[in-house]
Assembly symmetry: C2
Homo-oligomer: 260 residues x 2
DNA sequence: CGATGACTTGACTGCTGTCAACGTGCGTGG
DNA sequence: CCACGCACGTTGACAGCAGTCAAGTCATCG
């Protein structure tokens, strides 16, 4: 098993990228942490070699030691009920933090698995806690990130609690589009790193339903889909289908037409 | 049979109870905050007069200034989608914190409404943030509470994402029973402060479905229901119905129910 | 090139929502 | 004290959305 080779694949330069230089630092730590602080944060962060697709970053029940930040790639977090069915809690893109739900119990309640080759930063929690005591900006930021996580989970509860299958998938695609856009990628086309089954397990739908909806959306001219590649053709109408007020990032500059 | 009415109008004495004497402090601030620290925390907390049933503690969109801790009574937090349907995010019992989802956006994403006469402690967030910088135990505790909230929301996502109506209501009742028990009340019988409609909006079910399930559970001998009063007759079987591993609190400490 | 896994499509079933009517308890006011 | 209205809850009939089962297609990889 020559997995050792992976260490060579990653260039030394990549490994030594500091938080300050990291292109994600504006996403990972949006505000409140200035350059000096970041240096200190940088010192405690452990950069690991990439995780191959399908590998677990951690499994449900593992002891909690660190928060992880996605640097490249993507992963899903999920719980497995005793029926064997997976509930996917989230798909995590570069710049997003994983493992915040483990602080309270000192153990991870969820499993985290790479959807593609993925690299993460490991942030030992005791160090982070200690450091945030000294850096007001960091503490503030930590609370904000956790608050946002709660808020995001609440929005997912709305989706799971009262949306139709059609609305769920539409909302999912709009949300994904927004997240890609915020990261500097195209909002109108992107590649899904997760399977139809994963999407179903995330949205509380059967994978067949997800598949059927993709073809229906395509037939309706809302998007084009080719395997994992998605191209949104009519974002506005997809927004309507999602049955939610979607803050459209493009529309912010233009005038926002709203219909209540 | 004695003090069944906790939600009786609080006396002036109650209003002046400090955090240290508050019977909830072990729930509100489980560990990591010692007596000296609590005194400081106490100084920043504002005790308001009780909220009548139906009144809002805050509404979605309100500016965020404070976290609230329920002292007596109960309230629900909910979002209203533009279809008018409410998604109830949680029912909050004494000792639980409300408003943690507002930190990130500086505004409350949800509305909070009293289900009965309810009194709360108001904790100005800027003060709390400042204080937690000085008290390691408090900071630790704050992160823990938020982490637990994320974890709880995730469990709700499992319920909404993949449970049947029957499993949802069973899980809801078991969870409520546990929470009452942890607060020193009977785990086997309690009064619901929320309506069937609220339960439906929480579990993603129509209120008719909730009503039907209550009568079905009663016919199956799982429980007895009389309006708002619930008596669990067969907790084990209800656990099975919920389709989840429920850690039963009775099993831990035998019969330590101290009310009635 | 065959095996494997991911995806698509179809047929059918059933759970749960919707609509509707009725019952019940409680507070209000006469 | 009773009558009434209203909110809440229960029950029934029916329909439709989405799950399940099953078969077939397509891409990728050894």
């Amino acid at each position: 098993m020559p997995t050792r080779k992976l260490e060579k694949v990653v260039s030394l330069h990549d490994i030594r990228v500091a938080c300050l230089e990291c292109s994600l630092n504006e996403i990972c730590l949006p505000v409140g942490v200035d350059a000096d602080d970041i240096e200190q944060l940088d010192a405690i962060i452990d950069r690991k070699r990439p995780l191959p697709r399908g590998d677990h970053l951690f499994r449900a029940g593992d002891a909690f030691k660190s928060i992880f930040a996605v640097r490249a790639g993507s992963l899903k977090t999920y719980a497995t009920s005793q029926s064997g069915q997976e509930q996917v809690m989230g798909f995590h893109l570069p710049g997003e933090l994983v493992g915040l739900d483990a602080i309270a119990r000192n153990a991870h309640p969820l499993s985290a698995r790479a959807l593609e080759t993925t690299s993460v930063c490991e942030i030992p929690f005791t160090d982070l806690e200690e450091l945030s005591m000294q850096l007001p900006g960091l503490q503030r930021e930590l609370l904000r990130v956790m608050s946002r996580e709660i808020h995001d989970d609440e929005q997912n509860m709305v989706i799971l609690g009262q949306k139709s299958a059609e609305e769920r998938l539409a909302a999912f695609l709009i949300g994904l589009s927004n997240r890609f856009h915020r990261r500097g990628f195209s909002a109108s086309q992107f590649n899904l790193s997760m399977s139809r089954g994963d999407i179903g397990d995330y949205l509380g739908l059967a994978l067949e339903t997800v598949s059927r909806l993709f073809t229906r959306f395509q037939n309706d001219g809302l998007l084009r889909v080719d395997r994992k590649h998605i191209e949104l053709l009519n974002r506005d109408r997809l927004c309507l289908f999602s049955g939610a007020r979607c803050h459209q990032h493009q529309a912010e500059t233009a005038k926002s037409s709203r219909s209540n």
